[in-house]
């Protein structure tokens, strides 16, 4: 398979599918859906081929495609995956079909299930949007988004990578803006502006590095791998100081400023508190399938950036700021869990829960950057990083599944999704309750399901590296349990709310749809080697490079 440019194929297949969909006539709903699902499954198939062909024993980049693009600027078309990239590509390939399959009800007239979200909006006159007519656009945007994600997870040259990073942002904006809930307009705007500003800060930081490293005879460096090398041996800070010399800032300070720019870009995306206020609103207002994508995959772009870009290029800077950064992670974990407990909207609760879960990832990423001479801690760093990767995958799977369940609930309840709107649903919808219960417990980190292994490895790694941070963060585990069980208690237990005595249980199609992620939760909980064996060599290589 060495000649076949499989990564490019995976990236451009959805793009191609999206273009076909754009060309379709408006007004059709079934055909665009079929095409989109077809393309997403074809991509999933290719991704599984990639997974098979990947050599798990090696931690190096594989399937590399490298070609000059704009030589004058040092821009290359440069893609490749290691264990981390592969895992994220797989996650994207899994979550997108889930979201597509869950989108069907969005364009139905609402027969049998009163669904205000599907009805044409009166206030849409100004934008000329009436929902049933533009299903092809919706599906096209999702496929574009998927292409953007694939590109982000495979590209290794900043210029190339940044195009895809932005490419994923724009479809997401329109998906929220056009098909979202009542407050979708400000939500989409907030989402876009926040993310955009983060991106601009990052762009400026990379341009600064580019100019600092450019010499008369050769263009500057956009290549992540070269930048990482320079970051490790300290030449990057020196080059920045020599090349830029802004305002007489000292060398370390200047490097910190540049670092802060890149940090902001990723911190908004993950998000890290206090750059998170866009997230609950956006998640709540986005149509549920889009929320699945936002939380399942797009939030991973941030963590991916932390691991792939920030950690290798700026280890000294993270280490210098270790304590404040760890505090931010702890605050993210604990405050978001508590804020989730205070919410009364299921989607907002789960949105805060997402912040909480990714907070563990950031905690581990920061802890790993700690400089230490103790060889025993190398093992712990590897454990923490493995935990981060697993947690990213697991959270993507579980959170997407949970939002899907909330979507099912919304469809049945005519758009209601308040914590206190239900009660006793287990009586009329036992299968729904059982399966959603499994997903909730997976999110809670119950051993035997997928969530536990990642969290265990993160804590195993972080505790020796930063005991106080781990000690505070376990509070997050506790509060998470409280609010997740509260969901079970209020929605499914207690006396049946008579209003819902006719609420239908999951249909066979819906059961089939959730069966796959639920099965994966069990498989990964019991046999995490399936993933760990693939990512561990990558982690080992990363930790070696981080070993100071």
């Amino acid at each position: 398979m060495s000649d076949f440019a499989i990564l490019s194929a995976i990236t451009f297949l959805p793009l191609f599918g999206g273009l076909i969909l754009v060309g379709l006539n408006a007004g059709q709903t079934a055909l665009p859906r079929k095409i989109a699902i077809g393309f997403s499954f074809a991509t999933l198939g290719l991704t599984l081929l990639l997974w098979r062909a990947f050599d798990p024993a090696s931690g190096e980049l594989q399937f590399i495609e490298q070609a000059n693009w704009i030589p004058a600027l040092g821009v290359q078309y440069f893609v490749g995956v290691d264990g981390l990239g592969l895992l994220m590509v797989l996650l994207t390939a899994i979550v997108v079909p889930m979201a597509l399959l869950a989108s069907g009800k969005l364009f139905e007239g609402g027969v049998g299930s009163p669904l205000p979200a599907a009805a044409p909006r009166k206030d849409d006159g100004a934008h000329g949007v009436t929902r049933p007519n533009n299903a092809h656009l919706y599906y096209a945007l999702i496929l574009f988004l998927q292409a953007g994600l694939f590109g982000t997870f495979t590209a290794l040259n900043f210029f190339h990578w940044f195009i895809f990073w932005e490419l994923s942002l724009i479809p997401a904006f329109f998906l929220v803006r056009l098909w979202g809930g009542p407050q979708r307009s400000p939500a989409a705007m907030q989402f876009f502006v926040y993310t955009m500003v983060g991106s601009i800060a990052m762009l400026l930081a990379f341009l600064a590095m580019f100019f600092a490293t450019s010499k008369p005879e050769q263009p500057g460096v956009f290549d992540f791998i070269t930048l990482a090398e320079m970051g490790r041996n300290g030449t990057l800070a020196k080059a920045l100081s020599d090349g830029l010399g802004w305002f007489d800032l000292t060398q370390p300070t200047l490097a910190l400023v540049i670092f802060a720019g890149v940090l902001l870009g990723f911190a908004v995306k993950v998000p890290l508190m206090p750059f998170h206020t866009w997230l609950p609103t956006t998640y709540a207002e986005a149509p549920t399938p889009v929320t699945m994508l936002l939380t399942g995959v797009m939030s991973k772009m941030g963590v991916y950036g932390f691991v792939r870009i920030l950690l290798p290029i700026f280890p000294a800077q993270i280490n210098a700021l270790l304590t404040p950064l760890l505090w931010l992670a702890v605050v993210t974990i604990v405050f978001s869990a508590c804020a989730a407990f205070a919410q009364r909207d299921l989607k907002r609760m789960l949105a805060y829960s997402s912040i909480n879960h990714l907070g563990y990832c950031l905690l581990a990423v920061f802890a790993v950057a700690k400089f230490t001479n103790n060889p025993a801690l190398v093992v712990e760093k590897a454990a923490a990083l493995n935990g981060v990767f697993l947690q990213m995958f697991n959270h993507g799977l579980t959170a997407a599944a949970l939002f899907m369940f909330v979507g099912f609930l919304e469809q049945r309840a005519g758009g209601l999704r308040g914590l206190n709107d239900f009660g006793g649903l287990r009586k009329v919808a036992p299968v729904f309750c059982g399966l959603m219960g499994i997903a909730l417990f997976s999110s809670l980190g119950l051993p035997g399901l997928n969530g536990f292994v990642g969290e265990f490895l993160i804590f195993k790694g972080v505790f020796p590296l930063a005991p106080w941070a781990a000690g505070w963060s376990v509070l997050g585990l506790l509060v998470t349990a409280i609010f997740l069980l509260t969901i079970l208690q209020r929605v499914f237990n207690g006396p049946l709310n008579e209003k819902w005595s006719k609420l239908p249980d999951l249909t066979l199609a819906e059961r089939a749809l959730v069966a796959a992620p639920i099965a994966l939760m069990f498989v990964l909980g019991l046999w995490p080697r399936l993933v760990l064996d693939v990512i561990n060599p990558t982690v080992v290589r990363m930790v070696e490079q981080l070993n100071f």
Partner: protein, 700 residues
């Protein structure tokens, strides 16, 4: 390696498999699901007996090849990065296996009768099987991580089964409370586990000299000290013990266990009396080498073991005193369980593994017996649980009464004939010889008195005297109308009736065990103690006999006082006040309200949590989000001021001013339309602040 050691995993796997199959079975497959559960449990019992016999033949604790380890996952380079799990067959495992499968099987059978009318019968057996599998997993685990995994699963099934009657809000709340309270302990256990993992590089208990409970690892743990000067082994031991406190309902995390009685009675018997709550005791017994690890020459009573002893002793008295003033038949037993678990902890702390475990085993049998007897009573009395409204049931339910009496005498520690006497006496003996302090011994003695007293009170109120359910009815008609009996089948709703054979036979078998089991660990023939590897050299010395006499007298006193207050002149009507209400200073009210611990938590921890959650939400909406709003307002204000300044101060013409106002209005409406700029500004401000903080922090 013998076959049974290698295939020990089958014991938990069988019930797990049964659970998996019946989870997929439709609700109507009642018979299938219960037979599957009972069949798998029976097989597990047979295998456990085999393992037990094998273990006995092996003799000593340190037999070679008694464990089987395998690599579960790899998270770092080299051997240090391989995480292994495994199982072990040592005497501790062997006795627990037999106990759990045997008691479990009886309770499964009993449940067929007890749950016969429940619409979620199939689900019930699914959960029960899942519980049994997880509990057996805890027992066989040779790795703290595997133990933790199964431990959490046990917690899950406990949650599911407490909330089994989910339509009752109280059951749903109790289930949540149980899960969260135990999770407080579990979080500490998790920290202890990762710490232990870091220090020793393994979580296997036994691994050919490299396990974390073996000499080299322990030596390393003792030698290392934490920043506060405590040995690492002690700190880790305390964290692990915190997990046990949660699971075993020790003070201060005992609050969930009495509420757990919302679950069906077989669940109370199996999970919240015999097995799961004992998992905490088992955990301490399992990691006892770690808890008791001390440097050469130092006192054997490590800080960790002292904590275990004190918590246990306090719990024993605390819960026993609450039990005195309860009126719900299951809640009395629940507090009694908490108290007895305290005894076990005290036994572990003062006398070692064998002493604590002996009481665990005997208690499992007689407490399961008591709960199932209580279930039989409740079943026979149309779901009545208030002992004041019972009375005289002895006539209607002779088998239940006889077996219950056996259980009561065993729990009270009636001398010589009953197992509870022997195991409790062991603990008191160990506490008496504890060099650190005699207070736990006196607390234990006080607890023994209270135990005998409240059990006598309960039996007298439930089984003796006149039946008060009718008296109550005639005294208060409105009450009777307000609570129509839930039992549809009963035509004569007043008369209690004996339970079917499927429920009474397990009682009889357990009652037999409650008597016989004591004899395997008497001072004359301490087989149990020597099997668990503990020397019991003294035999029947004068000291031992003297202590036995003392404890017998205490028990007689307790029973006597109970009889004098409740049995001699049985109360005639259910609404009559309790004799103990005459105690001074509102003591009875305090006891009845469980010392107000629940209320204390309500106003402290729970309220704080709710407040903090609201604070976080407020922070989000007003501080972080408010910054966005504030900046947008400031921007608006500034633009307005600058426009006004422009128009009125610079161009002082009135016409121009009018024009200016209208243009200003337009401009403002433009500002309000798009909020892009505001967000941009906020992020700009945030970025600046971040850079300042980071630069300041980084250049220090």
């Amino acid at each position: 390696m013998t076959w049974i050691v290698k295939y020990l995993w089958l014991i938990p796997a069988l019930p797990m498999l049964a659970a998996g199959i019946s989870a997929l079975a439709p609700q109507r497959c009642r018979k299938f699901s219960s037979s599957l559960a009972i069949g798998s449990m029976g097989l597990a019992l047979l295998l456990s007996l085999w393992a037990f016999v094998n273990s006995v033949q092996q003799g000593g604790v340190d037999g070679a090849d008694r464990y089987f380890n395998f690599a579960w996952l790899q998270f770092a380079a080299g051997d240090a990065g391989i995480l292994k799990l495994g199982w072990v067959l040592d005497p501790l495992t062997a006795v627990m296996l037999v106990m759990v499968t045997f008691v479990g099987l009886l309770i499964f059978i009993y449940s067929v009768g007890y749950m016969a009318h429940d619409e979620n019968f199939t689900r019930f057996f699914t959960f029960l099987s899942l519980f049994a599998g997880a509990m057996l997993g805890v027992v066989i685990a040779n790795s703290l991580l595997l133990l933790f995994i199964c431990w959490e699963l046990v917690g899950l099934t406990s949650y599911l089964l407490i909330g089994f009657w989910y339509h009752k809000p109280s059951a749903a709340a109790a289930a949540k409370k149980a899960f969260i309270t135990t999770r407080i302990g579990d979080v500490a256990l998790l920290l202890g586990m990762v710490w232990l993992y870091h220090e020793t590089g393994t979580l296997l208990f036994y691994d050919d000299g490299a396990g974390c409970l073996e000499t080299s690892a322990l030596a390393k743990l003792i030698a290392t000290t934490t920043s506060v000067g405590m040995a690492v082994s002690t700190a880790i031991g305390l964290l692990i013990f915190a997990g046990a406190v949660g699971k075993s309902g020790q003070v201060p995390l005992h609050v969930w266990l009495p509420d757990a009685m919302e679950g069906p009675t077989p669940v109370s018997a199996l999970i919240h009396a015999a097995t799961m709550v004992a998992a905490g005791v088992f955990l301490v017994a399992r990691v006892f080498p770690l808890m008791g690890a001390h440097a050469e020459g130092a006192a054997a009573e490590t800080a960790a073991l002292q904590t275990v002893t004190w918590i246990g002793a306090i719990t024993a008295v605390f819960a026993a005193s609450i039990a005195v003033a309860q009126n719900d038949i299951k809640r009395i037993l629940a507090y009694s369980t908490v108290s007895q678990l305290g005894y076990m902890m005290m036994g572990l702390g003062t006398g070692g593994v064998a002493v604590g475990m002996f009481h665990l085993i005997t208690h499992a049998f007689f407490k399961a017996l008591l709960f199932m007897g209580a279930g039989s009573v409740i079943h026979g009395c149309q779901e009545e649980q208030d002992i004041r409204k019972m009375g005289g049931i002895r006539k209607y339910m002779p088998i239940t009464f006889a077996t219950y009496a056996v259980g009561m005498l065993a729990l009270a520690g009636f001398p010589l004939l009953f197992s509870g006497f022997w195991s409790k006496d062991e603990i008191l003996h160990a506490a008496h010889g504890w060099p650190v302090s005699h207070v736990p011994f006196y607390l234990g003695v006080a607890g023994a008195f209270l135990t005998a007293f409240y059990m006598t009170r309960q039996v007298a109120l439930v089984f003796l005297g006149p039946n008060r359910s009718r008296a109550w009815e005639s005294a208060d008609h409105s009450h009777a109308r307000g609570n129509p009996p839930t039992h549809v089948g009963g035509k004569d709703k007043g008369a209690p009736h004996e339970s079917p054979a499927v429920m009474t036979w397990p009682l009889i078998i357990l009652a037999t065990c409650a008597i016989v089991l004591g004899f395997i660990g008497t001072p004359m023939w301490p087989w149990f103690q020597s099997f668990l590897g503990q020397e019991h050299g003294e035999g029947l010395t004068t000291g031992v006999v003297a202590l036995m006499v003392v404890s017998s007298l205490i028990v007689f006193a307790g029973i006597g006082v109970g009889w004098w207050l409740y049995g001699r002149k049985p109360i005639q009507r259910a609404d009559k006040s309790d004799v103990l209400e005459k105690l001074p200073a509102g003591a009875y009210t305090w006891l009845e309200r469980k010392y107000g611990v629940d209320e204390l938590y309500e106003i402290s921890v729970i309220r704080f949590n709710a407040w903090f959650a609201r604070a976080c939400d407020f922070l989000d909406a007003w501080v972080w989000g408010g910054a966005v709003k504030l900046v947008s307002l400031i921007t608006l204000g500034l633009s307005w001021v600058s426009r006004v300044f422009d128009e009125f101060v610079i161009n002082l013409g009135f016409d121009q001013s009018c024009d200016g106002v209208s243009r200003g209005g337009k401009l403002m409406s433009r500002w309000q339309d798009g909020r892009v700029q505001n967000y941009l500004r906020v992020i700009g401000v945030a970025l600046t602040v971040l850079v300042i903080i980071l630069v300041w922090g980084g250049s220090r």
